[in-house]
């Protein structure tokens, strides 16, 4: 069972994880990953744009693929859109499983695919100027790990 959401407003990862854990008391382990806006490099703000007809359906398809690949009790994906500031959470992935290895691998796989394969476009504001971020080669290399 997967829960996949786009959040236009700030969210609280700790509260999300607590609710997810409570909903999956039967799982022996929960692995979570939180991506946040990195402070430093003069970045004042970050904006994530998405394309309504493709972004959420694409994330739901990814979640279904993850559930098919690993034995999970549940999967949670929360992804921000809009303007964020340093230390704001961007993305939360949590995987609940009977055994921890499935949970680690599922969260890792979901993050690699969210980073390089989902319909988001990112721009950063530094010194009052917005600049679009180009895709990183490393993200594609991360994806290639999964064959």
């Amino acid at each position: 069972m997967a829960s996949v959401r786009l959040e236009p407003q700030p969210f609280d990862p700790a509260a999300e994880i607590a609710a997810f854990a409570a909903a999956h008391a039967d799982a022996g382990g929960i692995v979570s990953f939180i991506g946040q806006v990195r402070a430093g490099d003069g970045v004042e703000a970050l904006e994530l744009r998405h394309f309504e007809p493709l972004t959420l359906p694409g994330m739901e398809a990814l979640a279904a693929e993850v559930l098919g690949r690993w034995a999970l009790a549940g999967l949670l994906v929360v992804h921000r859109t809009g303007v964020m500031h340093p230390a704001d959470p961007i993305v939360l992935v949590a995987a609940a499983a009977r055994h921890r290895r499935d949970a680690f691998a599922a969260a890792d796989y979901a993050m690699d695919h969210l980073k390089s394969d989902s319909w988001f476009w990112k721009r950063e504001c530094a010194s009052g100027e917005w600049r679009w971020i180009e895709p990183r080669e490393q993200d594609h290399a991360d994806l290639a790990r999964w064959g």
Partner: protein, 80 residues
Amino acid sequence: MARLVFLGRLEDIAGTPDLAVPLQEPTALADVLVMLPPFVAEALAGPKVKLALNGKLAPPAGLILADGDELAFLPPVSGG
């Protein structure tokens, strides 16, 4: 009338998030692009730009735009 939608950096190049283009009849993509400034058309026709016709991914080859269609131009993603 059809609507063109520009995502990511393509919005900055086009100078607008979307654009209505008048169509007298169903029109091939190449003939729509020539209505735009050449530097915008060139960016939109880039090899890494994907297209979504009415919200569904569509290959550029043979693409025809008709009245009421929405065509989105999607540059390489940079998410998460």
